[in-house]
């Protein structure tokens, strides 16, 4: 079964921060291997445009680095599963992902081991002053 995943990319590694990531790699995969990949620039200052590009790409999973909670919720609301606070070489991460490994543990960003990041879930609230 074909599936599409997106990874934010910088210097062949996962971008440290999704909110300011410039490039998206979109992979088309079958069960065990990569069918194709393409690049898309997402150097927008407005996060909504990044989310829109992501939705347009057809990806059902996003692998990214740090991400602000508000944007992560918006992406999830758009029906895309987010594997966040991941770091490392994209090729290694992809290899592990295709092998069905738990990349959230193996490639967790420093301080995020044992699913420690984003423990506190809640809706973003804007304080108008």
């Amino acid at each position: 079964m074909k599936r599409i995943i997106a990874i934010t990319s910088w210097q062949n590694r996962i971008s440290p921060v999704f909110d300011t990531a410039q490039k998206l790699l979109i992979f088309e995969l079958n069960e065990k291997s990569e069918i194709s990949r393409r690049e898309e620039m997402i150097d927008f200052n407005v996060p909504f445009q990044k989310i829109h590009a992501l939705v347009r790409s057809g990806a059902k999973t996003l692998i990214c680095g740090a991400i602000t909670e508000q944007i992560e919720s918006q992406i999830e609301e758009a029906g895309i599963k987010v594997l966040s606070f991941i770091c490392g070489d994209i090729s290694s991460v992809m290899q592990a992902y295709l092998a069905g490994k738990d990349i959230k543990t193996e490639f967790a960003m420093p301080g995020c081991k044992n699913q420690r990041c984003h423990r506190r879930r809640g809706r973003f609230m804007y304080l108008n002053y």
Partner: protein, 461 residues
């Protein structure tokens, strides 16, 4: 012996670094973290052991890592960066504002071996700024000027009183915002405030809008229509630009205020009105009374409590506060991360005359948000008229007085908009009539074309 000394110095350095409240980390030339102090652990929420040997971008997770790393700038140029405001994303997915500084690390031979980055958590400063903002705001109105603070002090009593209020102020000073605050603080707050701009409608339409009509009152009146007075029953009715209503309508409005009743068009019976009137005008109503253009008796009925909102140019101390407010507002609505305006931009804003008052300032910030792709609004993100070259007007001599500059500024803007008064007024954020008054007052001679005729000329015949 030398080795022992180095070890002791390293221990001292570590103790000193751990005792300071600023986060500090060092990297080697491969951007791997070599040290990470206690405060850095506290601010990022990451333990030191997890950071050593890791890439700094995976640990620090700043908005500038990818496209504007200041440590890279320092490594490339040798120049330190001092106190740049950025944000990092902590493990909770929260943005933490920090101020960072960078420097090079050299060995005993002066060879670069890496860099050091120190950072200060600005969350507390940000919280204090918000608290300060609360002190200077009343509901949604923001000001620290003494004139405005006086108004803030009396606003609750005005709201409670249920008396008619007259709000006077130039276009763009926020008259409707004041009206809404008065309504929100009043006992009528549970009902929606109804607003009507009296200058936006022709006289006949305005009358039916205000009082409504009965079926058959005129040809197209197929069924009853409620007027704004009926819609505002038990609530407040905000009548903007009240100075623009005709003498005939002034009489009818006077009757409502005196008798607390009115007759919808075509009705045979009067309807009782329990409505609080909040009127506003960008004209000086007392002057209109003197000029015979506004009924004296109506003026006294409306002018029970008068609030005079000072123009922005008379309370320039509010400009930095309002700039922060609008940045915060547009960051929220446009989901952006702009931190501030540059000092040069703030200087230009402080020098600007703001004919369109707060609305003009908001338009300027909105314009800058469209163009700004970084974190700080720079001069080239401002509308052309505000940029320094826009102000170096061809005919402006160093001795030009303020009025001449203002006239030339308006002329430039009108020319840019193909002499369209409507477009120019819109760009300035002021009402067209205010622009006409300015043009007349400043004695600006306009060419015998305007935006409409230019547009018509361009239309195919």
């Amino acid at each position: 012996m030398a080795k022992d000394n180095t070890k002791i110095i390293d221990q001292f350095t570590s103790i000193i670094l751990d005792s300071i409240t600023d986060g500090v980390f060092t990297v080697d030339k491969q951007w791997r973290i070599t040290s990470f102090n206690k405060a850095a652990e506290d601010i990022t929420g990451i333990e030191r052991e997890e950071t050593i040997g890791q890439r700094c971008s995976d640990v620090f997770r700043a908005n500038i890592c990818e496209s504007g790393c200041v440590l890279r700038q320092t490594m490339d140029s040798g120049e330190p960066v001092i106190c740049q405001t950025i944000y990092i994303v902590n493990s909770e997915g929260e943005k933490v504002p920090v101020s960072i500084s960078t420097a090079l690390l050299r060995d005993e031979n002066g060879k670069i071996i890496g860099g050091v980055e120190s950072f200060r958590d600005l969350s507390t400063v940000e919280d204090l700024r918000k608290k300060l903002m609360e002190k200077y705001s009343f509901a949604d109105i923001i000001s620290k000027s003494s004139q405005m603070q006086k108004i803030f002090n009396i606003l609750p009593q005005i709201a409670e009183s249920d008396s008619t209020v007259l709000i006077e102020g130039e276009s763009g000073t926020g008259k409707e915002l004041f009206a809404r605050v008065i309504h929100q603080l009043s006992k009528r707050k549970n009902n929606k405030m109804i607003a009507l701009n009296c200058s936006a409608l022709p006289d006949t339409l305005l009358e039916s809008e205000l009082f409504g009509y009965k079926a058959g009152a005129f040809t197209d009146a197929k069924k009853d229509k409620k007027g704004r007075f009926a819609l505002a029953e038990g609530s407040s009715l905000f009548l903007d630009e009240i100075g623009d209503i005709s003498p005939a309508l002034q009489v009818k409005l006077l009757r409502v205020l005196q008798e607390k009743e009115y007759e919808p068009l075509g009705a045979t019976e009067s309807v009782k009105a329990n409505v609080r009137i909040i009127a506003a005008s960008n004209k000086n109503l007392a002057e209109l009374v003197r000029a015979g253009q506004f009924r004296r008796d109506l003026y006294y009925r409306i002018n029970v409590i008068k609030i005079l909102i000072p123009p922005l140019r008379e309370r320039k101390e509010d400009i930095p506060l309002l700039v922060k407010h609008f940045i915060s507002k547009y960051n929220h609505f446009q989901n952006k991360n702009i931190a501030d305006v540059s000092p040069h931009v703030l200087r230009l804003l402080m020098q600007h005359d703001f004919l369109g008052n707060i609305r003009e300032l908001e338009n300027i910030i909105e314009h800058a948000f469209v163009l700004c792709r970084g974190n700080i609004i720079q001069v080239d993100h401002l509308p052309a008229e505000l940029q320094p070259q826009g102000l170096s007007l061809p005919n402006a001599s160093p001795n030009s007085d303020l009025q001449t500059l203002e006239a030339q500024y308006l002329l430039n803007l009108l020319e840019k908009n193909n002499w369209s008064r409507t477009k120019t007024a819109k760009e300035l954020g002021i009402h067209k009539s205010t622009l006409f008054r300015k043009i007349k007052k400043l004695g600006i001679a306009l060419p015998k074309v305007d935006g409409r005729s230019v547009n018509n000329e361009m239309k195919p015949q």
